[in-house]
Point group: none
Chain length 248, copies 2
DNA sequence: TAATTATTGATTATTTTTGAACAAATTAAT
DNA sequence: ATTAATTTGTTCAAAAATAATCAATAATTA
């Protein structure tokens, strides 16, 4: 078995387990540990994995060209719950839009094995869904290096050409009175464009964003079809009263 | 059995199994291993498969997520020379197009600190130029997971909306008689679209591609404004005679 | 038909890969 | 903090694979 071949399997193991020990690799590949170490070393210098004492980790979420790491660290578990819930709403064969928020990004792990079409402006999403079952359509336009996403007028026009079943979006603030708000104009207009191109709009908001208004309010609360959150039941009744279905 | 014949069968075996050893090929074709090695070597330089120690792999399996930045790249040093030369042609403030070839990708390291605008359909290029001086415009459309690039009709339309100073392109084959050729239709049409959107077209071709015709010839040699290569002076006179300026 | 060229196969030399043994470094435990 | 255990780095030898060289065969051409 060649090195390239082992490389495949090593990456596959890491993809599944997240991390593994030298022993595990050696056993799975039926090869000596010293060889595994050499493989891991080279793959680490090639930037394919993160070498640990006694084994290796995959470095997709942790430290890659894309580092949502800092953001994702906060409330990671809570966000994952929201994302799992959201992902369950997606049927095989559907087309969905995903925006460039850190919460929405965490949906990737739950949709990898679905046969769906994802349209997105988020580079981390693209990276995460690469080599998965998902067929990806990337929105074109100017790249915002800070947000690691595509934005701008061209991007919005691109979005307008499509019509999808569901859009999964994040916002910086949401309140029953003033609707949706964001920190930047670009984010707001992309979110609006995506919402227009979708039959049903899902907004993923952890409890910290509920009832808050941020820098720029850009859309009425009626834009929301479904609110997916981890808030308490008592905090979402106001949204239910406005005709929004809420998933907790 | 002729080489052409064996080539077909080798590719078929790889298509089915993904990878195989020299022994397997030798057995399947009932021919000596040394001959198989020679076949594989030539096919590898033609870019039809990936050579491993002891056998060969399908190209798509060999290229892993966003790491054809790799050092394993064939002729990396020679390609770097070509790229350095090409990068020197770019002035501050210009807009350029870059396609998704592995040679063009290697230009990234030489343009990181220029204040220019890059339009590209290559994800590795985007990642490489992320967090650099360069302002990036990503072409939108369907993602080709194998080539790690955007392609398709939407992508071509996106390209058509722009007009840039220079385009840096790669092809799989180039000959004075038949012009430019590629392995796939998608690659060819993207290359054409880029060439149309650019005032001046630079083609980056290492010596192994000169004088070769591949699967699909898609454009006359007149599409080339500048040929950047590492070939010998005597091998490029024919191109100079056709009015193409050649950089060596 | 003879001469030339290209292709194939065999042999040998070189390189690459692998595994083992031991020293050095790192982690864990007392 | 010091010792024990584990992991890693280094060196070396064996095995496998490849490259290089040369002879033999097949194909082509004059």
């Amino acid at each position: 078995m060649s090195f390239q071949n082992r490389k495949q399997i090593i990456l596959k193991i890491l993809e599944e387990k997240g991390e593994a020990e030298v022993k595990d690799f050696a056993q799975a590949l039926d090869i000596s540990e010293i060889t595994i170490r050499r493989d891991l070393q080279q793959m680490a210098t090639d930037g394919l994995l993160f070498r640990t004492h006694g084994g290796a980790m995959k470095l997709s979420l942790a430290q890659m060209p894309f580092t949502f790491a800092n953001k994702t660290a906060v409330n990671a578990k809570e966000k994952d719950k929201i994302c799992k819930l959201a992902a369950q709403q997606i049927q095989e064969g559907e087309s969905i839009l995903m925006d460039c928020g850190s919460t929405v990004f965490r949906m990737c792990q739950f949709i990898k094995n679905k046969r769906i079409k994802v349209i997105t402006n988020s580079l981390p999403v693209v990276y995460e869904l690469m080599n998965s079952q998902v067929s990806i359509n990337l929105i074109g336009g100017e790249i915002d290096q800070e947000r690691q996403a595509v934005h701008g007028k061209i991007a919005e026009e691109h979005i307008a050409r499509y019509k999808v079943d569901k859009a999964f979006l994040g916002v910086d603030g949401i309140s029953p009175e003033n609707g949706l708000s964001a920190f930047g104009e670009d984010e707001a207009s992309i979110t609006l464009a995506m919402a227009k191109a979708s039959a049903k709009n899902y907004f993923l908001c952890d409890a910290s964003k509920l009832g808050k208004d941020k820098y720029l309010t850009f859309a009425p609360i009626t834009l929301v079809d479904v609110l997916v959150t981890n808030a308490l039941e008592e905090d979402v009744v106001v949204y239910r009263e406005k005709g929004i279905s809420v998933l907790i």
